[in-house]
Symmetry: C2
Subunit: 245 residues, 2 copies
């Protein structure tokens, strides 16, 4: 295992930061690394908003369910799927943009995630810690207003970045055989792998919380997926000009 | 700049590979690195199918518009957004899964992309080259049949992996100021940045093709986005059990 693989495999989310600022040079190295991720047909369908203003961070923290680290981190990156530049490109060429396809929505969402993950790796290689903030999707209308997000752009997730002020433990993942299939999708492996993972997750929580958290992965997933989640999302995305035909 | 950032910033797609196989050990290191990427609420909503069978690769290459490297690469990874394990978890707990939300679709798509990008970085750190194959989305019904992809799973993209047998050039990206915004979204920066990038891309193509390819980023985007793209996508995803309410 080389140092890069060690770095990738020791990732854990960091939710408490030293007060040290993230320098301009470091921020640019992170975003330039993000930009070199693969992009579908060179679309580069993303933007990232670096937020350091305390009032904005406080407001975004409230959106995310009062996650303190959103307020506390020195810089909060808001990763946005962005087709607005492509509309500008069409306008420059006198062409009419067809933005309304599921395919274009997928391209923009994937491009953004690939870039953000490169940023996460770059940040961690520089001794920074990060945590993704999907909780911004609790209320994207509010985020859109706060950050003046235009049409054909939507904030996909946030990412807190800062120098770690705590240790956190590696969270065990699904067994490899649940995720890695050979030649075709191997549905027959799943039940046994989930049962094994349930036991692993149970033991991990019991040890980590001194017996207080007594659950399994299946229980957590059943709880999460048996309730409707952010049901306003489709309507919001349509307000931003996305279509799903 | 440390070695990780250098690695990230020298990424280019590789489309021709030496015949050397990718060992089991290397494949596992890559997928285990992918698994350590961040995941929304520990959902881990992805699967990856490692395809080495020549007939399957040939068939998938045809789907992707006869991209030779899809057939030629020693291993083709098919990254799938996967909510099927979450349904199994719900069934284990006697809960009824609500799969039909845009939010769940976004979670699965993003989780898959984050994992895949970690895999790309891990592979490149081991001296391998990769290229993403969005062209599989030309006909996901065919991919689904070939790889026996079950309900609540969809192939998002492929990734050819192998030892590089050619050099390729770094493709210039949008100016940093187009992508990196400060405190709020800065729409006012975009036009000038696009004009600058158009000139950069023009010169890059002219030099690379000895004058044969005479275009700009705006022209490429206008061409791409003024035509409907993969219009069957929404219907296919619904066939796989995804909903967008």
């Amino acid at each position: 295992m080389n140092d890069v693989i060690k770095l990738l495999q020791r990732h854990r989310s960091i939710r408490k930061y030293k007060p040290d600022v993230v320098s301009e040079e470091v921020l640019e190295a992170i975003v330039r690394s993000a930009q070199m991720a693969s992009t579908s047909s060179n679309v580069q369908a993303y933007s990232v908003i670096a937020v350091t203003d305390p009032e904005t961070k406080l407001a975004l923290s409230a959106v995310a369910g009062n996650q303190q680290h959103v307020e506390q981190c020195p810089v909060l990156l808001i990763w946005c799927a962005d087709l607005s530049r492509d509309r500008l490109a069409c306008e420059r060429e006198g062409a009419q943009m067809i933005s309304g396809t599921m395919e274009n929505f997928i391209v923009a969402t994937v491009d953004t995630a690939l870039a953000a993950q490169n940023a996460a790796v770059a940040a961690e290689s520089l001794g920074l810690g990060i945590v993704y903030i999907g909780g911004l999707r609790n209320n994207l209308r509010e985020v859109t207003k706060l950050l003046r997000v235009p049409e054909l752009v939507y904030p996909l997730f946030g990412m807190c970045v800062g120098y770690p002020d705590h240790e956190s433990s590696l969270r065990p993942r699904l067994p490899l055989r649940a995720v890695l299939h050979r030649e075709v999708y191997q549905a027959e492996n799943q039940s046994e792998a989930i049962a094994e993972y349930d036991a692993t997750v149970h033991d991990y929580y019991i040890e980590r919380t001194k017996g207080k958290r007594n659950t399994t992965w299946s229980k957590e997933m059943a709880d999460k997926f048996s309730r409707p989640s952010r049901a306003y999302m489709r309507a919001y995305l349509e307000e931003q000009g996305f279509r799903f035909d």
